[in-house]
């Protein structure tokens, strides 16, 4: 069986809403923006798992919380990929137990299964683990420092992590990363500045910056949405190549279902901080079960005027994560909302072995 590199269980990221002084005196209840509100999924080794949703649904926050670029406020994130020595796993478990973050039983189970709880790692261990977990950012026009050369940008992670014994070794690692990211020959690109390379090449620089630490897990946040359509698939193909050659595992975040369709192995559809449907890509796209998934698929523009399809255009905009509706959070926009949807939150229901959906419309094959 293929093991799970990442297992996310009931992950929560809540941001507190600032209260005024008077409000805190009158002990008005603390409000929360529930950006991520109980997300559960796992990513297998060498798998591309894709989170799809509208902006503000919490997909980026989920990605960042896994890397602890924002601190989760609840749930667990376990990592079981390469780069962990048994000794380190034991150390991490003992540390979490001593800080009373985990019970001894939970910690022992993690040690046995060779994984660490990312949420409770202390600083130095987290820093070491981050070398194995990297991120590719959305906007290659904004995420690269215009005052740094490509070499400096890609070498920065080595400097920060104190890797590479000397400059020569660093240079060879940078060159290798640039080469892996398809910037060939590396010496042609190394001394250029971001404005001297094209959009697609910028994104390759971003990828090289992530690759230089030789990670095993990458969070790619909309890596192609800012790029021209004509070069998008080049970047996607590069990412596939890297997976095949280096055995990488990806969490791919996008709002573009058609990209998710051609690129990912499994898809999770997110709405307002929760995954509402999850399953193998082909199954979800060809046989969507949740009304939200169906609507999302129907509005993807078709690159052919002869293909006119019926669109399910949802009224209104996504509701506010500070005021999540009771019951099923999708019910105010759902064309099929029933009484029960307004009162009780639906639980995940497996419709096939690997495909589940949270919707009251599904009578389902079995309840989880």
């Amino acid at each position: 069986m293929v093991k799970d590199v990442i297992s996310v269980n009931n992950l929560e990221v809540w941001f507190s809403v600032r209260r005024g002084f008077m409000e805190s005196l009158t002990s008005k209840e603390q409000n929360w923006v529930k950006a991520v509100d109980g997300v559960t999924f796992n990513i297998k080794e060498r798998e591309i798992f894709c989170l799809v949703g509208e902006s503000g649904c919490g997909k980026t926050t989920t990605g960042k919380a896994i890397l602890r670029l924002v601190e989760p406020t609840g749930g667990t994130v376990k990592y079981a990929g390469p780069g962990l020595s048994p000794q380190k796993i034991k150390e991490a478990a003992a540390d979490a137990v001593s800080k009373r973050k985990m019970t001894r039983e939970m910690a022992n189970k993690d040690v046995k299964e060779g994984r660490v709880e990312v949420r409770y790692l202390h600083k130095s261990l987290m820093k070491a683990l981050r070398q194995k977990m990297q991120m590719i950012f959305q906007d290659p026009y904004e995420s690269l420092n215009p005052k740094q050369s490509v070499y400096d940008i890609v070498a920065e992670p080595l400097v920060v992590n104190n890797l590479g014994a000397n400059e020569a070794e660093r240079e060879s690692r940078v060159k290798k990363a640039l080469d892996d990211a398809g910037l060939r020959p590396p010496k042609d690109f190394m001394w250029r500045y971001p404005h001297e390379v094209s959009g697609g090449q910028r994104q390759r620089v971003g990828i090289a910056g992530a690759l230089v630490l030789e990670p095993s897990f990458l969070v790619a946040d909309e890596p192609v949405s800012m790029l021209d359509v004509s070069i998008r698939s080049e970047i996607l193909k590069l990412m596939l190549d890297l997976r095949d050659k280096k055995g990488l595992t990806y969490l791919f975040i996008t709002h573009d279902l058609s990209v998710a369709y051609v690129f990912s192995d499994r898809i999770g559809i997110m709405y307002l901080g929760k995954i509402v449907e999850l399953g193998p890509t082909e199954e979800v796209i060809k046989g969507p079960r949740h009304p939200y998934t169906k609507a999302l698929i129907s509005v993807v523009p078709k690159p052919d005027p002869r293909m006119k399809t019926d669109k399910i255009i949802l009224k209104g905009e996504r509701p506010d994560p500070a005021h999540i509706p009771p019951g099923c959070r999708f019910h105010p926009r759902c064309p099929f909302a029933m009484d029960v949807c307004r009162k009780k939150e639906p639980q995940p229901l497996y419709v096939t072995q690997e495909h589940w959906v949270s919707c009251w419309l599904e009578s389902g094959v079995g309840v989880q």
Binding site: E54, D228, L296, P301, R306, K311, I313
Partner: protein, 320 residues
């Protein structure tokens, strides 16, 4: 007579390194009530072409040649008050990035009233009433005219921009990447709105986008631009059904199709050429999969392949 007739339009920019030929001889015509899509990669000159029609070019840009005939007047020569009378009254534009195009410290209603008061001899009450009508037309609650831009979401701001473009009942609306910054669901709402408005008000529209699938859903005509030139032009259905230019074929193939097979779309290798020193011959030759010697020496003219279907490639022949 057509509403808009662009002939051999050339728009250049003066830069430190030399003259940048952003638009280098494009032709098209647009009739009343027609929607034309202008597609191409970033930097191909599609926005510059649109700004030339409105004469909104930055200080270092100028129209170097050709004519823009709009309702009997050559826009490339109109200046001063005359130009001001046409802008927004007859031609208006929906700018790229609705998030940033509105003034954050002015009420949205006032921002829309402004062009009405400037262009028409009406008092404020009439203008205000018009704004309320416009708001309901684009699907915003008319009571929201006293709100500020930050109180609107991205999709709603885009609707405000559309209402503003329609304020003086123009004949031609240019929409520059109208949905690029928006979510798919909001994008679908806005595209549907634009299509409805276009038929209801009999508007002519030029929609600029790098996203062919957006244009496929909204346009009657389609022009594909590459490096400052139109390389293919026809009805939208015809371009998709029967693409002639290798670049058009490449662009269409680059789209993942959610209704089709699950396979990675093709890409077009390489980058668009430098427009200060464009390559000799066909500008697409460096990236073309069918390139031959002739492509590197002589530039292919835009020929009529089928009635109303034009393409500029050495390897397309008129089919009669």
């Amino acid at each position: 007579m057509s509403l808009l007739e662009v002939k051999d339009l050339k728009t250049y920019f003066k830069t430190q390194e030399g003259t940048l030929k952003a638009v280098d001889g494009i032709d098209f015509t647009l009739d009343k009530g027609q929607a034309m899509g202008l597609a191409g990669e970033s930097g191909c000159g599609k926005t510059t072409a649109a700004l030339s029609i409105m004469k909104l070019l930055p200080a270092n840009g100028y129209i170097a040649g050709g004519s823009i005939n709009f309702m009997g007047q050559d826009m490339s020569k109109v200046t001063g008050d005359k130009l001001r009378a046409i802008r927004w009254r007859d031609i208006s534009i929906i700018f790229q990035g609705a998030m940033n195009a509105l003034n954050p410290v002015k009420r949205v209603g006032d921002q829309i009233t402004e062009p009405i008061l400037l262009h028409e001899n009406v008092d404020e009450a009439v203008a205000k009433k018009r704004v309320q009508e416009l708001f309901s037309l684009v699907g915003i609650n008319p009571n929201r005219i006293r709100e500020y831009p930050h109180e609107f979401s991205g999709g709603m701001r885009q609707r405000v921009m559309i209402a503003m473009a329609l304020a003086c009942r123009p004949k031609l609306v240019i929409a520059d990447e109208p949905t690029t910054a928006l979510d798919v669901m909001i994008q679908a709402q806005i595209l549907q709105l634009m299509k409805n408005l276009q038929t209801e008000l009999d508007l002519a529209m030029i929609i600029i986008s790098h996203d062919l699938s957006v244009l496929a859903e909204t346009c009657d005509l389609l022009s594909i631009m590459y490096a400052g030139k139109i390389v293919e032009r026809s009805s939208a259905v015809e371009v998709f059904a029967n693409p002639q230019h290798p670049y058009t074929k490449g662009l269409i193939a680059a789209f993942p199709n959610i209704k089709g097979d699950r396979k990675m779309p093709a890409s077009i290798a390489g980058n668009p050429p430098n427009l200060i020193r464009p390559p000799k011959g066909c500008r697409f030759s460096e990236r073309c999969y069918m390139v031959q010697d002739i492509c590197k020496v002589s530039e292919p003219p835009l020929i009529e392949v089928l009635p109303g279907h034009y393409a500029a490639c050495h390897f397309v022949q008129p089919k009669r």
